[in-house]
């Protein structure tokens, strides 16, 4: 249980735009040109253990999706390393780690039949003998709750919830043991979302899957995961077992986030907002990225980035208040 299955070690991902010859020439002429760097992920380290469901939470631009893609080998880290069972996954997709995507419309190739969408990879990789692919596909479709008789249809003939299931079947087809779910239910209606979340849990049981569950929806994450990692502007600010995190968030950002989440049980409440906006990842504030919005900010916060440290057993937080 405690064996790390997927591990991020000091992973950094920057998207850079460098100056080319002409721009450097113009710079010498005195033109105001500059390259720019997006720090999408900044020295992130954590591990997902076998059988675990880790929720990765954060707002837009915090780098959670980039992190998901790093996990699947769709991005290559600028520094640090991503390891699957100790083997590096640096920009090279590993079949055992598959991704479930957010958009049920754009995540399926509109020009392929369901049987090809699901069956292509196992056939190409020779996971299943060619003759058995149709049966294999049927079996997968049944597993995700779709009638195999629809396998000759195209994605546009399915509803959003059904497409999400096709996407899951496609990932399962290469027999992964680790799924990265990137906002996998965000685009679905509440009632459909519930069905798909249930499916995830069923699969976890029956196939023994491990999940990295990326979402901005704290409700979904709290429901599903054992452990939650909170990111803010490319950095992990807090990591804790789910129940503990929701019961007593440690980092000021986590606290603010939880306070803002609308909840059914809080009726006719007075909204009390957090101040300021999320800064652009092009120019993150110095020191602790959260300090301009933090109610507890101290001068030190603007100068020095707080390290992630253990504040209680199994709980990590990056805040100078804890020091």
């Amino acid at each position: 249980m405690s064996k790390p299955m997927l591990e991020f070690r000091d992973v950094t991902k920057r998207f850079e735009k460098r100056l080319d010859v002409i721009e450097r020439f113009a710079l010498r002429l005195g033109a105001a040109v500059s390259g720019h760097v997006v720090h999408a992920v900044d020295r992130v380290s954590f591990a997902v253990n076998e059988g675990e469901v880790v929720g990765l939470v954060g707002e837009s631009g915090c780098g959670k999706s980039t992190l998901g893609r790093l996990a699947c080998g769709l991005h290559e880290p600028t520094a640090g390393g991503v390891f699957y069972k100790g083997e590096p996954v640096n920009g090279k997709p590993v079949r055992a780690v598959q991704m479930i995507f957010q958009d049920p419309f754009s995540s399926l190739n509109p020009r392929m039949r369901v049987e090809d969408i699901v069956g292509e990879a196992p056939r190409v990789h020779g996971l299943v003998p060619a003759a058995e692919v149709p049966d294999y596909v049927a079996q997968l479709l049944r597993r995700v709750g779709l009638d195999p008789s629809y396998r000759r249809r195209y994605p546009h003939q399915f509803s959003g919830g059904q497409r999400a299931r096709i996407g899951i079947a496609r990932a399962l087809a290469v027999k992964p043991d680790f799924l990265v779910c990137d906002e996998a239910v965000a685009a679905l209606d509440v009632s459909i979302q519930a069905q798909v979340l249930n499916l995830f849990m069923d699969l976890r049981e029956s196939l023994g899957l491990t999940y990295l569950f990326i979402s901005h929806d704290l409700g979904v994450v709290s429901h599903l995961s054992n452990r939650v990692v909170v990111m803010y502007l490319g950095r992990v600010v807090e990591s804790a077992p789910t129940a503990e995190l929701f019961a007593k968030p440690n980092h000021p950002y986590t606290q603010a986030l939880l306070a803002e989440v609308p909840r059914l049980d809080r009726k006719n409440r007075n909204f009390a907002p957090i101040k300021g906006e999320i800064p652009s990842p092009l120019a993150p504030p110095p020191g602790c990225h959260f300090h301009p919005r933090c109610p507890h900010a101290m001068p030190r916060c603007a100068q020095e980035a707080p390290p992630l440290r253990e504040v209680a057993p199994g709980r990590l937080s990056a805040c100078h208040l804890d020091a």
Partner: protein, 301 residues
């Protein structure tokens, strides 16, 4: 969760079927398609349906030159649409001319499309310097006005069907490359592309099976317009004295040849090929128009 969900609609429907249904919703487009189909059929069957082989100089009779429509010629043949200055039966000449025009338009279109689509899609897929380079070449090519490129090329290459096809391909490929690239860029950003990579599929497979087919619809729209353009451009080049061999006239060349008779009232030498050209281009454009509407994702209901 074991309950099996019902599908949205009962009938299995391919994207192509759906496309057909939407396409034929417009009466005008249906008409255009029907006319175009008829034209293509007639052009293909020209050797069988034409009363005369207008390209065989030995079959022409100079003494029957410039006969009015409906006149009976020396050899007893009735020229339904009259004859041109060589005694060529206009009806046959138009049928064969259609064949040449369509051949030139379609073949150059297909070659240009293939070339352009591949470069465009590869540029989009590869990104970086390769993309920069390809797109600069495309920009340069598009900066040159088509007609001038064709003019110079033909001046260098000389006349002939193959030559004009080369010229038209040179002129057109960049349009396809640009369209293919922008379409591929949109598709490249979609999640199914990432999924394909995540599944460990090879680059070639991703480009050919995933990227290319999805970048194709806008190319087909551009293609129809470009085929019409190519036919018109060939006609213009023939008019300017470059283009096809004079003994095997395309529609454009027929018009150009008959052009000088327009003033003198021998309208049929230029008029009927003109009508044939107009109807052809018109029907291609009608089809292209509807294709554009049906295939445009932004207008999809």
């Amino acid at each position: 969760m074991s309950a099996v969900l019902p599908a949205a609609e009962p009938a299995p429907q391919t994207p192509f079927r759906r496309f057909l249904e939407e396409f034929f919703e417009s009466k005008l487009a249906t008409l255009g398609f029907a006319v175009l189909a008829a034209i293509v059929l007639v052009a293909l069957l020209a050797p069988l349906v034409a009363p005369q082989n207008p390209y065989d100089l030995g079959k022409l009779d100079l003494l029957d030159a410039r006969l009015e429509p409906g006149t009976k010629g020396g050899a007893g043949m009735t020229y339904v649409l009259g004859t041109d200055g060589q005694g060529r039966d206009m009806l046959s000449a138009i049928l064969y001319g259609l064949r040449v025009s369509l051949y030139v338009g379609v073949v150059s279109g297909i070659i240009a499309l293939t070339l352009g689509a591949l470069t465009g899609v590869l540029a989009a897929y590869a990104g970086g310097r390769i993309e920069q380079f390809v797109m600069r070449v495309v920009d340069i090519q598009l900066g040159f006005p088509a007609i001038l490129v064709a003019l110079i090329l033909l001046a260098v290459l000389g006349k002939g069907v193959d030559k004009i096809i080369i010229a038209l391909v040179c002129v057109q490929w960049a349009y396809y490359a640009r369209t293919a690239r922008s379409a591929a860029l949109v598709e490249r950003g979609k999640e199914y592309m990432e999924a394909a990579r995540g599944l460990g599929l090879s680059g070639t497979r991703i480009v050919l099976r995933h990227l290319l087919p999805n970048a194709l619809p806008p190319l087909i729209v551009v293609g129809t317009v470009q085929v019409a353009h190519a036919i018109a451009l060939e006609a213009t080049l023939s008019f300017l004295g470059l283009g096809l061999p004079t003994t095997e006239p395309s529609l454009g060349l027929l018009i150009a040849n008959g052009y000088e008779y327009l003033m003198s009232g021998k309208y049929w030498i230029s008029f009927y090929p003109g009508v044939a050209l107009l109807v052809t281009i018109l029907s291609i454009n009608l089809v292209g128009d509807q294709l554009r509407d049906v295939l445009n994702p932004r207008l999809a209901k």
